[in-house]
């Protein structure tokens, strides 16, 4: 059995030996993206599993071991990990936990420390915790993000984004229930088996894969009129994780809406861009800025390729690229607003409103600090500038009941339908008379 080794600050390390023996457990956030990342990690020689667990015990463990005033995502992520360790499915002495760390001024950078405190309280202090971050925090001898892995991860982000994007546009209209999910499976299978063979990792083959994915979803038989589109933005965990948002996508579908969920790529570029722009705002080394720009340029090129492929085909709504989003933010927030989702969250709302999706659910954990500013804090101004915008802010936390959340979303939907009706009847009247007619895409 692997020996427990600590660094000089007393942090338990994940050793090379552990890499052989231990199973890495990853909490679920973006089901598709993470599933793919996990498969990539497996090809890198790690034993790794993404947790798909649900149920009350996750919340119970979270509340038991995490400070109750901590944010909801921390409670769920840590609850899910501890629940898994205690489930009996794994040998607790042969698992390590993986958690992402963004390293910004938000509380979220402290999740890993909360997880360690929780493990200590739960008598599981011998379970190593691995931080996955791009800030160079916490090294582990047995866990390295190789350049090859990072490259694959970037590809996975885009494959995840395009699948999420196209699937969301097909699922509400599928004739045979389950077709969309089967299409997702098909795509994942060929992407992953391709990756295993080292295929799909060049720019050219990536575009070919994008095209193939589009074809798979185009083949899904659909019917019915255009449904009300509803954008989903928010704090990154509750925005994407069904566990965090009470299965919001599912609820929107059941209410006859089409969810529009902006992808993960922008968040990745955003976090790189923050470092770049910090140098402009505060000063710093040009080399740091140059490296950031190269990396951002690399990711942006992939993003443009994805968007161009979608546009070329024309069947599906293509999202704006990072620079489009950035362009919207002027007059709302400064480039320096970077904690949490920062200006990107507001930019996503603006992009949605400007591209025919004025109905938006803005999700946030109860008391989320950055969202006071960039979420709830911007809705007033959005309404001033775009009177037809219809944004509802929903708080998620262990005590918030689903019925309250659903009721508020229903209200937004009722308003959306009424707005759509007024819009049809009197396209130039009232609210939209200021010349900023919403575009329909």
């Amino acid at each position: 059995m692997a020996e427990l080794v600590y660094d000089n600050t007393g942090r338990l390390l994940f050793t090379k030996e552990m890499k052989e023996e231990y199973t890495l457990l990853v909490p679920q956030m973006l089901p598709m993206h993470f599933a793919m990342l996990v498969r990539i990690m497996q090809t890198e020689g790690y034993k790794v599993e993404m947790l798909n667990t649900t149920g009350k015990s996750i919340l119970d463990y979270g509340q038991k071991y995490v400070h109750n005033d901590a944010c909801f995502p921390a409670i769920l992520v840590i609850g899910q990990l501890i629940d898994a360790v205690k489930s009996g499915k794994y040998d607790p002495h042969k698992v390590a936990l993986v958690i992402t760390q963004t390293g910004g001024g938000c509380r979220a950078s402290n999740y890993i420390h909360m997880l360690r405190k929780a493990l200590e309280k739960a008598d599981l202090a011998y379970v190593p915790v691995i931080s996955v971050n791009l800030s160079g925090l916490e090294h582990n001898p047995g866990f390295k993000l190789s350049l090859g892995f990072i490259r694959k991860a970037v590809f996975a982000v885009f494959y995840g984004d395009i699948i999420m994007n196209t699937a969301n546009q097909v699922r509400p209209y599928e004739v045979n229930p389950g077709d969309t999910d089967r299409a997702i499976e098909t795509c994942m299978d060929f992407l992953l088996s391709g990756m295993n063979e080292g295929k799909g990792m060049t720019h050219k083959s990536m575009i070919a894969n994008f095209e193939r994915i589009i074809e798979v979803f185009k083949a899904v038989p659909v019917a019915g009129e255009q449904k009300v589109r509803v954008g989903v933005v928010g704090e990154i965990y509750v925005k994407y994780s069904p566990l965090g948002n009470n299965n919001l996508e599912h609820f929107l579908l059941s209410e006859g809406a089409e969810p529009v969920v902006p992808g993960l790529a922008d968040f990745v570029i955003f976090k790189i861009y923050n470092r770049d722009v910090d140098v402009d705002i505060y000063g710093g080394k040009w080399i740091k800025q140059a490296v950031c720009r190269i990396f951002a340029g690399y990711v942006k090129k992939k993003q443009r390729a994805m968007i161009d492929t979608l546009k070329r085909d024309g069947r599906f709504r293509a999202p704006g690229d990072f620079d489009d989003l950035h362009g919207y933010i002027k007059g709302y927030l400064g480039d320096g607003n970077k904690m949490g989702e920062g200006w990107l969250l507001t930019a996503e709302m603006l992009e949605l409103i400007n591209t025919g999706v004025p109905n938006i659910v803005c999700t946030q954990p109860f008391g989320c600090l950055p969202n006071h500013i960039v979420g709830k804090g911007m809705i007033r101004k959005l309404k001033d500038d775009y009177p037809w915008s219809n944004v509802v802010a929903i708080d998620y936390d262990p005590g918030a009941t689903k019925i309250n959340q659903e009721n508020r979303i229903k209200l937004m939907l009722a308003n959306a339908r009424a707005l759509a009706k007024t819009h049809e009847e009197a396209p130039a009247a009232g609210a939209c008379a200021d010349g900023r007619e919403p575009q329909t895409v």
Binding site: K56, C71, H113, K338, G377, K383, P398
Partner: protein, 976 residues
């Protein structure tokens, strides 16, 4: 067209409306459903069967609890706000806004342009259920409360965020003899403030406003508060005749868009759905059978005090009084602790009258045989009762409870007391009270909460508790504050949970609240091995059982669990070993009179709400004060670094060393400006600006900006900024300077040096939400002060662009500004050192207040510093000590400058025998969810006590007093 039926199923009531072809109201009803919403609706429909049977009708359900019913029955549903808007548009087409209060919902709908609506989110209390709860608290019916409010003379500030806070504000007012009329009106005012503050979110309420919903329909006092607050006249305040069932009317109107169905089919669907299977989240039962319960009772009933009988006893006796928040408890004991007399009753808002009556009774029973040799009083009403009846000793609740617990279990190491309104738990370490946890945050799921629920469901509290004991499937209601629990109950009711399961679920929730929310324990071992439970709520066997189940271990519940405070006080009176008690004699009681009058103290800016109690013989007792000045004594001025810093910063306005020719630069006096102002003042005055500070924070200033606050859960210090900026605009400044700062100064003691997201970006939130900023030049650029050279370059460019100031001039100003800031820090440190030396020279204890720089704002801390020094402490702040320790890695990511200072100050305190720490925490502060645990562990590992003081927009210093006095008692005990 066929008849249209609208059914509005709310959290507590069902409204049924029938409209004919001409929108004429054929039928309307408004009935409480006592958690049987579907049944109630069916009954009502059955009662009007004659009208509808055999016809095709359109039926639509609406309401917060209607969604589930509609789904289960396959009946059409419209969202209730939408329905309400439909009705308003029909009957009052020129409406500008609707304010609708329901059982648990509060809504504002804005008309004009696109329809905009606001509902209370997951944190909001001021609604019908809240008013019910408050009425229960005051022991009046809701209608009596209403009548009382109409005769008010003054309004007390009562927390408008959440019912829990309001309760803890009201209680001290009542206990200190405030008038019921005034409290009643204040409760309604709190509802109004809650609605206006929480829901307008940047949009002003003006024009013609329609008021809807049950509470606004029935309560004239509430109407009056709204009309007055919003400055409405008769024409602009509309109270429709059917305002209590408007959503129902709206649903009926909306029904026009839906298909016809035979009425009898619809009724059948609704009736059948009543029996639909539920999917409630449930837990194991409390007791499996009667035998289980009997064994449990036997075990607990063994913990009782010695037997004694007042009718035969002769000798010495000691009196203890616990003037609690909702109840008054009295215990008269013999020297061995034997109980001669006990009393436990709701204080009905007037503890003085109750105690008077009890003392008379005790004297009567004592006859000539028993001599009272000592008397002590504890609890919220301690000071009042002590002064009224001349008791020998007043002691803090925690110490009283510890005395009592130790009597039953000398090894006790953990005490939890759940009373009517409050929950107290604390550890006993080395024979002293330690680590006090009170439920002042958001979870007083205490006794009165169950009681209110019991009443709402039509039960007495005793019966309600009893039916829960053997409930087969207790409902899981979560473990957060009562407002959340209300909606959890609503959901459980919707899903068809029975009353017994809800009762058991509530008991379990209260326990979970205590364990996970207040104590935050991970396991039973975290609490202790010898746990004594007390307080009236633990007389409820369901709660006690749930507690033992949750901890997985047996605890001690004395038979006098509800009397422990009084019992402990009596023991303390005994231990005074007095020859003679000063307690008013039997004779003196006959001439006893008491009257109370509210006054606002005008001796300083704190403007304390005082209550002046007059007793017979010219005796007087003033409460609500923070210092001794209103008592006619000179204010004792002990060294107080918070006060020192505040005065120093406030003086930073005007032209300084410059000429002021470049104009008047406004700086809002809030958040990080409490740290950075010395820098900016020097910077701008050097550039020949006149610096204009916004006025000192007051509640009035807060209210001025309240309508532009977009997020009602952000901290109070941030909310205050809206008022500051409004005031600056009013002062007619030429520009306002309030830069965004992701990063603060790097003092080299943390892993990073961020500001929290709210401090960092609040300037941008103000720009987006405050219409007045369109009139004034508002500068909120991103700056970083920690890279001095880079900053100089960037700000020079900015000043050139904005004000055409030559770069050289700016550069010089920057250097002077850094010097000024450094000098400010050095001065704080030197002054702190001087205060510490003063304390040591005079042998006084030192209290280090750890918080944020802006916690020195008297409107934010409500004069806590005065209170602290009035107890004889010398006060210094974290920033005066943090430089005395270097960097050390922490178990958390130590990435915020202000927070890093607290860790370092705490580490330093651990090395000093005469220092203790109190931490100030603003409600809603997200970063303190991290710092509190870390600070506690630093201090406890260093052998120090940890005391946390939570503060919000309301100044209730009751909890602060308990903590500081307990801290003092613990310091004393440690000395011994």
């Amino acid at each position: 067209m066929s008849l249209r039926i609208g059914i509005d199923i709310g959290s507590t009531t069902v409204k049924v409306v029938v409209l004919d072809e001409d929108n004429k109201l054929l039928f309307r009803s408004y009935e409480r459903h006592y958690s049987k919403a579907r049944e109630r609706a069916c009954e009502t429909l059955n009662s009007i069967k004659e009208l509808l049977s055999g016809k095709d009708v359109k039926l639509v359900i609406t309401g917060s609890a209607g969604l589930g019913v509609a789904k289960a029955g396959g009946i059409d549903f419209v969202q209730e706000v939408y329905a309400t808007a439909a009705a308003v548009t029909q009957y009052y087409p020129d409406t500008d806004a609707v304010i609708e209060l329901g059982g648990e919902d509060a809504k504002i709908i804005f008309f004009g342009g696109a329809l905009e609506e606001r509902m209370n989110g997951s944190c909001a209390g001021g609604t019908g259920a809240f008013i019910d709860q408050m009425a229960t608290l005051m022991n009046v019916s809701v209608n009596e409360l209403d009548a009382l409010s109409l005769n008010h003379e003054k309004i007390y500030p009562i927390a408008s965020r959440c019912g829990v806070f309001a309760k803890s504000d009201i209680q001290p007012i009542l206990n200190q003899g405030g008038r019921k009329e005034d409290v009643a009106a204040s409760i309604f005012q709190a509802v109004v403030d809650q609605t206006v503050a929480g829901l307008t979110q940047g949009r002003e309420l003006k024009g013609k406003i329609v008021f809807l919903g049950g509470p606004l329909h029935f309560l004239m006092g509430l109407r009056a508060r709204f009309v007055e607050t919003l400055h409405l006249d008769g024409e602009h305040a509309v109270f429709p005749e059917d305002g209590d069932c408007f959503a129902g009317i709206g649903a009926a109107l909306c029904a026009a868009d839906y298909a016809d169905h035979p009425f009898d089919d619809l009724l059948r669907k609704l009736e059948e759905s009543v029996d639909a299977a539920n999917t409630v989240d449930t837990m194991p039962p409390l007791f499996t059978d009667e035998a289980d319960y009997a064994a449990f009772l036997t075990r607990h009933d063994a913990n009782h005090p010695p037997e004694a009988d007042i009718h035969t006893y002769a000798g010495d006796a000691y009196l203890g009084i616990d003037a609690g928040s909702t109840t008054t408890k009295v215990a008269l004991i013999a020297p061995d602790g034997g109980l001669l007399y006990t009393y436990y009753h709701s204080n009905q808002g007037n503890p003085v009258a109750i105690v008077l009556e009890q003392l008379k009774e005790i004297y009567r029973l004592c006859g000539g045989r028993v001599t009272i040799r000592g008397s002590a009083v504890t609890g919220y009403g301690e000071e009042l009762i002590k002064n009224a009846f001349s008791c020998d000793l007043g002691l803090v609740e925690t110490v009283a409870h510890f005395n009592a617990a130790a009597h039953f279990n000398p090894d006790v190491d953990f005490i939890i007391d759940i009373g009517g309104q409050d929950m107290k738990c604390f550890k006993i370490r080395n024979g002293a009270v330690d680590s006090i946890m009170l439920n002042e945050a958001c979870s007083s799921g205490c006794g009165s909460f169950i009681e209110t629920f019991a009443k709402a469901l039509g039960y007495t509290i005793a019966d309600f508790a009893k039916i829960g004991l053997f409930a087969p499937h207790p409902v899981n209601l979560g473990s957060r504050c009562t407002v959340f629990m209300n909606s959890s109950v609503k959901q459980a009711q919707k899903d068809g949970a029975g009353v017994e399961d809800i009762s058991a679920g509530l008991s379990i929730s209260i326990v979970k609240n205590a364990v996970y929310k207040v104590i935050r324990a991970a396991s039973a071992d975290d609490l202790g091995r010898h746990i004594v439970v007390q307080g009236g709520t633990f007389h409820n066997d369901a709660v006690l059982r749930a507690f033992e189940q949750e901890l997985g271990r047996n605890v001690t519940r004395p038979t006098i669990a509800g009397l422990m405070g009084a019992f402990g006080a009596a023991l303390a009176a005994r231990d005074l070993h007095l020859e003679k008690s000063a307690l008013l004699s039997e004779k003196a009681l006959h001439g006893f009179t008491h009257s109370a009058k509210p006054v606002t103290c005008g001796l300083c800016t704190n403007h304390c709400s005082l209550t002046v109690n007059q007793f017979d013989g010219g005796r007087k007792f003033i409460s609500g004060n923070r210092c001794s000045r209103p008592l006619g004594k000179e204010k004792v001025e002990l060294p107080d670094l918070m006060n020192y810093k505040y005065k120093k910063l406030r003086a930073l306005e005007g032209r300084g060393s410059g000429s002021g020719v470049r104009g008047r630069m406004g700086i809002p006096f809030g958040l990080n400006m409490y740290e950075n102002l010395p820098f900016w003042f020097e910077f701008f005055t050097r550039l020949n600006f006149e610096v204009v500070l916004s006025p000192e924070s007051t509640r009035k200033l807060y209210i001025k900006g309240q309508h532009t606050i977009p997020s009602d859960t952000v901290c109070y210090p941030a909310k205050l900024l809206h008022g500051h900026v409004e005031a600056l605009v009013e002062q007619g400044v030429d520009a306002i300077w309030y830069p965004c700062m992701s990063y603060n100064n790097d003092e080299g003691i943390g892993d990073n040096h961020f500001n929290c997201p709210v401090v960092a970006y609040y300037p941008e939130l103000l720009a987006a939400n405050m219409p007045v900023l369109k009139q004034t030049r508002y500068l909120d650029p991103y700056v970083g002060l920690w890279r001095r050279k880079d900053f100089e370059k960037r700000i020079a460019r900015m000043m050139e662009e904005e004000f055409s100031i030559p770069k050289k001039e700016t550069a010089a100003a920057v250097r002077a500004a850094y010097d000024a800031y450094d000098a400010y820090l050095a001065d704080i440190r030197a002054t702190g050192k001087q205060y510490v030396e003063y304390a040591r020279a005079n042998n006084m204890p030192i209290l280090v207040v750890c918080g944020r720089p802006y916690h020195i704002d008297p409107e934010i801390n409500h004069g806590i510093n005065d209170l602290i020094t009035s107890f004889g402490f010398v006060l210094v702040t974290e920033d005066a000590l943090s430089h005395l320790e270097g960097y050390e890695s922490r178990k958390v990511l130590n990435q915020w400058t202000f927070q890093s200072r607290m860790y370092n100050a705490a580490r330093y305190v651990c090395t000093q025998s005469d220092m203790q720490v109190v931490q100030l925490v603003s409600f809603g502060c997200g970063t303190d969810a991290i710092t509190t645990d870390e600070l506690r562990s630093i201090l406890e590992e260093g052998g120090k006590l940890y005391t946390q003081l939570k503060i919000d927009d309301i100044n209730n210093l009751g909890a602060v007093r308990i903590r500081i006095r307990s801290l003092m008692a613990a310091i004393d005990a440690r000395k011994r």
